[in-house]
């Protein structure tokens, strides 16, 4: 699913500043890095030895005929092999360590940042997009920052030592070999990029196919009822054909690339054979030396291919680097101020009372970024222990008001005061630890029901959990499940119905025993009978607590101390149920209209 969100990848100019910052992740592992430098150098030297040993052995046999002492060659070859193996072991170990640790670090930093970023950030970024940053982008970057950097160092060392050696030994043959390198590099980069682009297309096509299967299964009834199989199959075939074309194209590119590289290499080797052979006939070179140079020429191809592959990847991964860095470096909009942080560091809290008392909205205004104003100069006082119900049409600003109160967003104008102190002068932890929130779309984490309720109070005992469930009216349905409180709820609570999820999330908030309870249409999917039970529990729970409830049900609204009718970001009417009915205004209209909605559902009456 992650690949879907990578479609903005395009080849870009390499921004060195960006990579320099990212390189800090690699440089953090100084010890491993230093070891690696040593290992890479050793590896290059070992690599250098083999052609030399081979060439010399051939030359000596060629010259001396029957009287060669093999012992030194055996020793040298044995040693070179032994050290080579040690260094290869070290190479993979170092690169592996840096690769795994760098990806751990990047993911950790990004995750930490995500825990602090404000809701306004999440409003603009879909979960899938964020997931892709922490999975595929992180993997990609850590690969470059570990294997890429290491291959670069090793390749450079190998090429530097070999070319120095060859240039000293025979500069003419050396130049023949070196002249092929730039051509090889350019061609390699060109093809690698093309291959990367097409493989991205393949991945994209593949995720479309997967989505299509998913849809065909989820929508199978609709498809059957409307006899859509043929049409769907046709659509699917178009996708599958696209996938096939991209895949074949991708494979063909590889099938062209590798032969070209090999052929180019063979040109170098052939030229050396002819050129070197000519020197042999002139008596200037031995056959062993010709073989040695051919050996060296072959050794050049691997690092050149590796380097060009990484170079291409670097260009293609530019977008990944930008996205990840911008995520790590972004500033949360809602955060503790320096002053508050200093106070916490000093005394452990923000220096004010832990209680929640009188809440005051003072000319509060709010708009999302440059969007329209959602809350207009709102003034409101909520006394400690009061229960407030918010009513009004969708989009009127009820949820925004609640979000502001919980400091998920901060007002763009005016102030929100708790006991006379602007909440921006207080710590987030203080407010959060006093809040109990039940949302309309309740989110449960995978795990057992008890774990989900315990989220409200991590150290809660089983008794406390059951008590909270009783109050929330959730106990009964939980006990009816196969494993009671130990029932697994599945990813996102998929095993439970929406109503059941609302009950569990209600229990979770109850367990927290918050001073300020906020409920956003928290019982919308619960049947009337359960609703009645909750109502009783709710009264107990809310006793002595301040509460704000957005609700559609009359029963919930009627029992509130004060009802606010909110429309177009303004408080249109407020007062008790009877006062508002008497006034015959908007609430009266809403009530008469809404009353129809509360009509008994047939199943609750008949099912019992």
């Amino acid at each position: 699913m992650n690949q879907e969100w990578n479609d903005d990848d395009l080849e870009q100019k390499v921004d060195l500043r960006l990579w320099k910052k990212l390189l800090q992740y690699t440089l953090k592992y100084r010890k491993t890095g230093t070891t690696f430098l040593f290992v890479a150098f050793g590896l290059a030297i070992c690599d250098l030895c083999f052609p030399l040993i081979t060439g010399n052995l051939i030359s000596e046999i060629e010259e001396k005929g029957g009287n060669v002492d093999f012992a030194p060659y055996l020793w040298m070859y044995g040693c070179a092999t032994f050290f080579l193996c040690i260094f290869i072991y070290g190479f993979i170990l170092c690169a592996g360590k840096i690769r795994t640790h760098v990806s751990y670090d990047i993911r950790k930093d990004a995750f930490q940042q995500l825990q602090e970023l404000s809701f306004s950030f999440y409003d603009t970024k879909p979960v899938g997009w964020l997931m892709a940053r922490l999975t595929s982008d992180c993997n990609r970057l850590s690969n470059i920052l570990a294997w890429g950097v290491m291959d670069f160092i090793w390749g450079m060392m190998l090429m530097a030592t070999i070319s120095t050696f060859m240039l000293i030994y025979n500069w003419k043959l050396a130049l023949t070999i070196l002249s092929v390198i730039p051509v090889l590099f350019v061609i390699s980069v060109y093809f690698r990029k093309k291959i990367l682009t097409t493989s991205r297309l393949v991945r994209k096509a593949n995720s479309k196919l997967t989505a299509s299967y998913n849809e065909s299964i989820l929508g199978v009834r609709t498809t059957k009822v409307f006899v859509r199989n043929e049409e769907n199959l046709r659509d699917f075939d178009t996708l599958a054909e696209g996938m096939q074309n991209h895949s074949v194209h991708n494979a063909i590119l590889s099938a062209v690339y590798l032969p070209i590289v090999l052929t180019l290499g063979s040109v170098a080797i052939a030229v050396i054979l002819a050129q070197g052979g000519h020197y042999v006939t002139l008596g200037a070179l031995s056959v062993g030396e010709v073989v040695m140079f051919i050996y060296y020429a072959q050794m050049f191809f691997a690092p050149v291919q590796e380097l060009s592959a990484w170079f291409a990847e670097l260009q293609m991964a530019q977008a990944s680097a930008e996205r990840v860095l911008s995520l790590i470096e972004s500033e949360p909009e809602v955060r503790d101020t320096e002053k508050v942080l200093a106070k916490i560091a000093e005394s452990g809290n923000d220096g004010h009372t832990a209680e929640i008392g009188r809440i005051e909205f003072e000319d509060v205004e709010f708009q999302y970024r440059s969007g329209p104003t959602i809350i207009e100069k709102m003034n409101l006082v909520i006394e400690a222990g009061q229960s407030i119900a918010l009513v009004g049409a969708t989009g009127g600003g009820k949820s925004t008001l609640v979000n502001l109160l919980c400091r998920f967003y901060e007002p763009t104008g005016g102030r929100i005061l708790f006991d006379g102190i602007d909440y921006r002068e207080r710590s987030l932890t203080w407010l959060q630890s006093n809040l109990g929130i039940v949302l309309q779309q309740p989110h449960l984490f995978s795990g057992r029901i008890s774990d989900n309720i315990r989220y409200g109070k991590l150290e809660a005992t089983q008794e406390e959990i059951e008590e909270a469930s009783h109050l929330a009216g959730a106990h009964e349905f939980i006990m009816n499940l196969d494993h009671g409180y130990d029932t697994e709820v599945g990813e996102g609570g998929i095993q439970l119905s929406l109503g059941e999820k609302q009950l569990v999330s209600f229990a979770r908030a109850v367990l927290k025993q918050p001073k300020l309870m906020v409920m956003d249409e928290a019982t919308s999917s619960i049947d009337t009978e359960t609703e009645k039970k909750i109502q009783k529990g709710l009264e107990k729970v809310l006793k002595g607590r301040t509460s704000i409830v957005i609700a559609h049900r009359l029963s919930t609204i009627r029992s509130a101390d004060r009802i606010l009718v909110i429309e177009k970001g303004k408080i249109m009417e407020q007062g008790t149920h009877s006062a508002l009915i008497k006034a015959g205004g908007k609430y009266h209209d809403l009530y008469t209209e809404q009353s129809m909605r509360d009509i008994v559902r047939i199943d609750t009456v008949m099912g019992s």
């Binding site: 070859y77 092999t81 009822v225 769907n232 063909i252 056959v287 989110h443």
Partner: protein, 592 residues
């Protein structure tokens, strides 16, 4: 060479490959020519080097032609490698494509009974990752195995024709290298899997956190979440690092073996040259050949260890393809219309208690009926049987005098316009989703039905109106909007039978009233079945059927049912009481 459809369902790996026999055969031929060209290069070297050491060589007659031949052989190898790559890609992708096609077609044709018991995630995984495993196997692993095999098949005759003892020496460690590779990868397969699982767990924690970020924040559980994440992140790091550690040992050992084998060729060959048993050229030939063919062996261990996966994958795919699809009856000329007559119908889902027991009822052509009853009373089951989503065994259902079981499934479904309880929208545009009802519909007809379902005004408010995409990348519709869109498409179909299965549960009262008025206007146009949870819908019905525990307990018109003591009357009274209470509330407020 075209893509032939895979017909029969039970295919082994080899049978699958056989579908693209021609391409694979040509690919093998190309590979043979390519490999021969490549392995001839050392031979050219041998000849050249021999003529150099014997002093017979000169630039024009030996060296330049040799160089040209070497380049020529490589070009030849290149060309045939290209053909091999193209052919195998085409072959494997064709096979996979027809497999995908077959899977998709099959899934859509499998009965609801199958879909009810299977897990969507699992099915999708079989269709995507298992097919992908198979694709990788067909496209690269098969080729890799063939390439290594050919290397040896072609190199061995060359070697043995040159020198028998030298050949034995050159191949002495090869079996060990192969064995070590296979044993190693077989052993670490578990670790590879563990790493994958750890990554999966990490991703899950991440996804859970991000989707539930509002809850995390609301409960101030950032630290708790961080701990959870770091634990998984750390586990993944450790396991992956462990894998690297083991791999570093393996590559180091296998490199040692390879270099030792090459060393044996070098030193042993040198010794025989010294004793004049072979020429320098032959010596280099062996050394070069071995250098060409020995490296790929190390990877083959991994490939061979992975082939098991492909067999498992194909088995998992077969399991789907082996499932029986819905029966297909002959299409008859007579249209599906008329009276619906249900007689003594009993139905149960998979050995469970019957959902419908001995049910009999008749719905006349053009009639509007309402089904009432608690959940599980059999209302939905009955309509699902009517559109043949399920097949009944006991009793009979007749439409227009024809036994439903003998009617063509698609013809039956075409006669119905059905709004399902949980309507599904395709991730297409709004228009495309409505047009599902009738693809030939004109724009004004689409809009008319959207009007009737009271969704038109919502649609035009979307940024791109009817062309707005629905789903993850477009607008997310509320439950009520989804229901109304589904109603619009059923209305657009202008079906013989219109079925609304609890399709107004998520819409508000005003909208409900609007839709019910639209339905009232169409009264008599189609036979209409309403499954409802609110009494408001039942006032529209000519007749009301009250279900309980799979049985019909009451039926009759609203007035008839109201006049007799029973569940309907009871319901109605509760409702009236409530309305009265509200009235009092309102008037009481006014008085005081």
């Amino acid at each position: 060479m075209s893509t032939e459809p895979i017909q029969s369902s039970n295919k082994t790996l080899w049978e699958l490959i056989a579908y693209q026999k021609k391409r694979y055969l040509f690919a093998i031929a190309a590979m043979i020519i390519g490999t021969i060209s490549l392995l001839s290069v050392p031979y050219v070297f041998k000849v050249t080097l021999d003529s150099l050491t014997s002093g017979q060589a000169d630039l024009k007659t030996t060296l330049i032609p040799a160089a040209l031949i070497i380049v020529g052989l490589n070009v030849l190898h290149g060309i045939f490698t290209y053909f091999r790559g193209k052919l195998t890609a085409e072959a494997s992708e064709s096979i996979v494509r027809s497999l995908r096609h077959e899977l998709y077609k099959h899934l859509e044709r499998l009965p609801c009974v199958f879909h009810d018991k299977s897990d969507t995630g699992d099915l999708v995984q079989r269709c995507s990752s298992d097919v992908e495993t198979l694709r990788v196997f067909l496209a690269t692993q098969v080729v890799e195995i063939a390439r290594v095999a050919l290397f040896f098949l072609i190199a061995m005759p060359i070697m043995f024709s040159q020198d028998f003892r030298m050949s034995l020496l050159s191949l002495s460690l090869v079996p060990v290298i192969v064995l070590v590779a296979i044993l190693f990868f077989r052993k670490v397969r578990g670790l590879f899997q563990k790493v994958d699982e750890a990554e999966g767990k990490l991703t899950t924690v991440l996804q859970e956190n991000l989707t539930g970020i509002r809850v995390v924040r609301a409960f101030g559980r950032g630290e708790f979440e961080m701990e959870k994440f770091l634990k998984r992140n750390g586990e993944f790091r450790e396991l992956e690092f462990q894998l690297f550690k083991i791999l570093s040992v393996y590559w180091s050992i296998s490199d040692f073996l390879v270099f030792t084998q090459l060393g044996i060729v070098l030193i042993g060959g040198g010794y025989w040259v010294m004793q004049n048993q072979i020429t320098i050229g032959t010596w280099i030939l062996f050394w070069w050949l071995m250098r060409t063919i020995i490296w790929p062996i190390r990877h083959i261990g991994r490939v061979l260890a992975d082939t098991g996966k492909a067999t498992v994958a194909i088995d998992r795919i077969q399991e789907i393809l082996k499932e029986k699809i819905e029966s297909v009856e002959e299409v008859s000329d007579a249209p599906v219309e008329g009276e619906i007559v249900v007689r003594n119908l009993t139905y149960s889902y998979k050995e469970k208690q019957p959902v419908l027991t001995d049910l009999s009822l008749t719905i006349k052509k053009g009639e509007t009926v309402a089904f009432l009853g608690p959940p599980g009373s059999g209302k939905s089951t009955l309509v699902n049987l009517l559109v043949r989503l399920y097949d009944y065994e006991e009793g009979s259902i007749q439409i227009g005098g024809h036994e439903l079981k003998q009617l063509n499934r698609d013809s039956v479904r075409n006669a119905f316009g059905m709004v399902l309880q949980d309507p599904f929208l395709y991730s297409k545009t709004v228009r495309e989703n409505v047009v599902v009802g009738r693809s030939s519909a004109a724009d004004h007809e689409v809009e008319e039905s959207a009007h009737a379902a009271d969704i038109h005004s919502n649609i035009v408010d979307f940024e791109h109106g009817y062309e707005t995409a629905v789903g993850e990348r477009g607008v997310t519709l509320s439950g009520g909007q989804r229901q109304r869109l589904a109603i619009a498409r059923a209305l657009l179909k202008e079906p013989e039978f219109l079925v609304l299965d609890d399709s107004l549960s998520a819409v508000d009262t005003k909208t409900e009233a609007h839709i019910l008025r639209s339905l009232a206007k169409r009264r008599g146009k189609h036979t209409t079945i309403l499954i409802a949870h609110r009494l408001s819908s039942t006032r529209l019905a000519d007749r009301i059927f009250v279900f309980d525990h799979g049985k019909l307990i009451q039926n009759g018109s609203h007035d008839e049912l109201l006049s007799v003591k029973g569940p309907y009357q009871k319901l109605w009274n509760i409702q009236s009481d409530l309305e009265e209470e509200i009235e009092q509330d309102l008037s009481g407020a006014k008085k005081s």
